[in-house]
């Protein structure tokens, strides 16, 4: 093994002079970089759905639900169907956090359960087949629907996530929000990539 490596370096040495030079410079740079820079906070690539969960947290802070009989102190239920593969990521980020003095609770729905009484319903791509049906059933109820498919807003959803160059972006359907009596803060509207007023297709 050792001899093999020596041999290859001998073989390729004269042929790849520039490569070796760049490699050495790079290695030296890396070494210097490591030695002289302070250990910074671990920076890593987080999972897409952990970041989306953090977005949902901010939505909960920047959206006002109509005041209910509970006086606005009951938990915010973020509902997710049990067959979403990213459910653990969402739970790890959101469950038990508090937004606008209300506790966030991730509620897991079985496939046959109706998403009633949810403040937020997050529909992943795997629900595409019955998305329209679910959105129609929620028509006019104070549930913030968050989805991912291209047709989500035109089917009556309120906020749609999409990825642009590996970064999370979102679009808002204002007509949908108004129908559901949700007040969206202007800060959120400013950050949305697109704000539309699509009425759901009937």
């Amino acid at each position: 093994m050792k001899d093999d490596i020596r041999q290859v370096l001998r073989d390729i040495g004269p042929r790849i002079g520039p490569v070796v030079a760049i490699f050495r410079i790079l290695s030296a740079c890396l070494l210097l970089f490591t030695v002289f820079s302070k250990p910074a906070r671990a920076q890593q690539v987080p999972d897409e759905y952990k970041v989306k969960a953090a977005f949902v947290f901010h939505f909960a802070q920047l959206i006002q639900w109509p005041v209910t009989s509970g006086g606005g102190a009951e938990p915010i239920d973020v509902c997710v169907f049990s067959d979403e593969p990213w459910l653990p990521e969402l739970q790890s980020v959101l469950d038990g956090k508090s937004a606008a003095n209300r506790t966030i609770r991730v509620r897991v729905l079985t496939e046959s359960q109706n998403p009633e009484g949810c403040e937020v319903l997050f529909l992943g791509r795997s629900q595409a087949r019955r998305q329209l049906e679910l959105l129609r059933a929620l028509h006019g109820t104070p549930t913030l629907t968050v989805g991912e498919t291209d047709s989500f807003l035109s089917e009556g959803g309120i906020i749609r996530f999409r990825l642009s160059e590996d970064r999370v972006r979102f679009d808002i359907n204002l007509a949908g929000a108004e129908l559901c009596h949700l007040k969206i803060s202007s800060r959120l509207l400013l950050l949305a990539t697109n704000v539309t007023r699509t009425s759901p297709e009937r």
Partner: protein, 684 residues
């Protein structure tokens, strides 16, 4: 050889320090602080502002799991993240990560790629599509990988289906489909310049720029060039080179909320050196070892119109034109292809998800006869008509999905055929799924079956006649047929470990056979010659069975380990009356029995990612290619927002090794050398 692989289980620090020369020690030092912080927990994302969140790059691992989770087939998706991390410099090398794929490099520019056996330079049972355009060569019935050098940075994903996909994708999707999907232009705005160098690995130089096109569209233009350093022939003769330039554009335009149009065009030209032993003259008979340049060029243009009829129905109309020319001193051909394809996808009620479509393809070619290869007729037009329908029926919503479909196809060689398929996906619970499939697929005959004449050997015969060992066309070409029985399991254990396995039993019929016959005097070649004939037929049948399994294990948020294993056995036989002593034996012996792989990805701090992959391929018995382990490793460094640096090594374990030799290659195989490369990509 395989015993060396467990080295990978040690930490990278020890591995480098123990085994690498001091010049590499600096890397180990870099890695050292990193390995300590593997277990560090990520910060609480909810504490970051929305603006910060919007600037985070995310991995979309779940996208793959999502797409794959419902498919009742052996699907593997290579994501753009996988592409970036793998350090692969070309598409065949990327495909090595797909369990069950056979990928063997022949020389610096040629690869043999196949799934579930039958590998060869002209392996003809694998369908390859780029954005819906087939790149399967209709004359040789195969894919020339030397001209499929896409910009890897612009690939969104590569979906690989092992097993038949003919019902939807069409003929020749017998043992697999490779579907390469490039990113939309909305995702590639801005500039990209990529440059690099390798010792014997070929690193393409690339440039791309994208921007807005009017109010509702976007475009990108790209250019690519590559030039190989030199690889080494088995016998140490002249090295061969590979050069290629390529350029093109893509536009995506949204016409209305319901309509969008995509157009793509590209042109390329290149050459690959090769060593060929071939006849250069028939009268007098003369063979020569030729060091040639195979030259190829082409251009294509594609337009695709997507229309949304309603929330439940979409249609797609696609047209493309493709021109390819290819040749060296021993053959020459040009092909024009026109293809028109329509597809509708409709959800009907709650239970039916229907896709149907129709297609027409016209191919017109022109070949140039040489003493080695000629086609009769030298020009030919061929047409294919096809129609398919597939319905996914939710027998029990989200639990039991039945997928039935069939394709009707008519081609000029073998007439009409029906390629049905039925598949069942059974979700046991949210994390576990079983699937079963029975499907039928055909490989339609190509010019190389029906019209080709190849003179392998010429020498002076008795009475001054030229003696020719010649391959004759199949007078009655038939579709090679496959009936495949497949089953698989896909599941996750907790949120960190996912497993995917498939087993299959394939029955083949009408595979190509070659029988030698009694010599006779042939008079139709200008002067009389003594022909020692080899007759092509459809006289091989047989079975194969195998297993493919892989896992993806996120040990920590930073460390992912992906082991895979596959196994294949083939039993091919001559049909009654067929006297073919070599094809069946050689084909089954050229399929490696066992393959295994281990890939490790370690995301480190400061934008560093370390990626290693080890691939074990069993020996190919009849053709004397020993088993080999290929070890590739590399480090990616995202130096800030705009710069990505990569360094890596390929084939690290041996100075040289041979990956392929077989009946199905037209060039002399070469030794693949150990190699190092550096690469930089700058976006602006």
């Amino acid at each position: 050889m395989w015993m060396q692989a467990p080295l990978l289980f040690e930490t990278p620090v020890r591995w480098h320090a123990k085994k690498f020369i001091p010049a590499l020690l600096s890397l180990a030092v870099v890695l050292a602080p990193v390995t300590r912080s593997i277990a560090a927990q990520p910060g609480d994302l909810t504490q970051q502002s929305l603006e910060d969140l919007m600037n985070i790059r995310v991995t979309s691992v779940s996208k793959r799991e999502q797409k794959m989770s419902d498919a009742a087939a052996a699907i593997f998706v290579i994501s753009s993240e996988d592409i970036r991390r793998s350090g692969a410099l070309n598409i065949p090398d990327l495909l090595r990560m797909v369990p069950g794929m056979d990928v063997a490099q022949l020389d610096s520019s040629r690869w043999a790629v196949s799934a579930r056996g039958f590998n060869g330079q002209y392996s003809n049972m694998l369908l390859v599509l780029v954005d819906g355009r087939t790149v399967y060569n209709p004359i040789f019935a195969g894919v020339f990988w030397d001209s499929q050098t896409l910009l890897l940075e612009d690939i969104d994903r590569i979906e690989v289906i092992r097993g038949p996909g003919a019902a939807v994708w069409g003929s020749n999707a017998v043992n697999g489909v490779i579907n390469i999907i490039t990113r939309t232009t909305a995702e590639t705005k801005g500039g990209l310049v990529g440059a690099g160098a390798g010792s014997s690995a070929v690193v393409p130089q690339t440039a791309r720029y994208g921007g807005n096109l009017g109010k509702h569209g976007a475009y990108r233009v790209f250019a690519q060039g590559l030039e190989s350093a030199q690889s080494q022939a088995v016998d140490g003769t002249e090295p061969k080179d590979w050069r290629l330039v390529r350029g093109g554009f893509r536009t995506d335009t949204v016409l209305s909320g319901r309509d969008s149009i995509t157009t793509e065009a590209e042109a390329f030209g290149g050459r690959s050196g090769e060593l060929v032993t071939a006849p250069v003259s028939l009268y007098p008979p003369r063979m020569a070892d030729l060091s040639l340049a195979e030259r190829y060029s082409g251009w294509d243009w594609m337009a695709q119109w997507n229309h949304t009829n309603s929330a439940n129905s979409e249609t797609r109309l696609q047209f493309y034109f493709d021109r390819t020319t290819r040749g060296d001193a021993t053959y020459g051909l040009a092909i024009n292809t026109v293809d028109l394809d329509f597809q509708q996808h409709a959800r009907i009620g709650n239970r039916h998800d229907l896709v149907w479509g129709a297609g027409y393809r016209l191919g017109a070619d022109n070949t140039e006869p040489t003493p080695r290869i000629s086609f009769n007729p030298s020009q030919r037009r061929t047409q294919i008509f096809s129609f398919f329908v597939q319905d996914e029926i939710a027998l029990s919503p989200n639990r039991l999905l039945l997928n039935v479909g069939t394709r009707f196809e008519h081609n000029d060689y073998s007439g009409s055929s029906l390629q049905p398929s039925s598949r069942l996906a059974w979700r046991l619970n949210p994390t576990q799924m079983l699937w079963f499939g029975i499907s039928h697929a055909d490989r339609s005959p190509a010019r190389s079956d029906a019209d080709v004449r190849v003179n392998y050997d010429v020498f002076p015969g008795p009475q001054g006649l030229t003696a020719i060992v010649g391959l004759l066309p199949n007078p009655n070409p038939k579709d090679a047929k496959l009936t495949a029985f497949e089953a698989g399991h896909r599941g996750s254990l907790g949120s960190r470990l996912s497993i995917d396995s498939a087993v299959f039993f394939n029955q083949y019929d009408h595979l190509t056979s070659v029988e030698s016959g009694a010599p006779f005097v042939e008079t139709n070649l200008g002067a009389p010659d003594l022909l020692i004939p080899m007759y092509q037929g459809s006289g091989i049948h047989g079975e194969s069975h195998g297993l493919e399994t892989f896992a993806n294990w996120k040990l920590t948020d930073r460390l992912t380990v992906s082991p895979g294993y596959s196994f294949l056995t083939m039993h091919l036989h001559n049909s009654p009356g067929v006297m073919d002593e070599t094809t069946a034996v050689q084909t089954q012996a050229a399929a490696p029995g066992h393959k295994a792989q281990l890939r490790i990805t370690l995301a480190m701090r400061r934008g560093l990612t370390w990626n290693s992959s080890a691939y074990f391929v069993d020996r190919m018995r009849s053709v004397a290619v020993p088993s080999n382990v290929r070890l590739d490793t590399g480090i990616n460094w995202r130096a800030g927002e705009r710069l990505l640096l990569q360094i890596g090594g390929q084939n690290l374990l041996n100075a040289t090794h041979q990956e392929f030799a077989g009946p199905d290659s037209s060039v002399d195989p070469e030794l693949i050398r150990r190699s190092a490369y550096v690469k930089a990509a700058w976006t602006f």
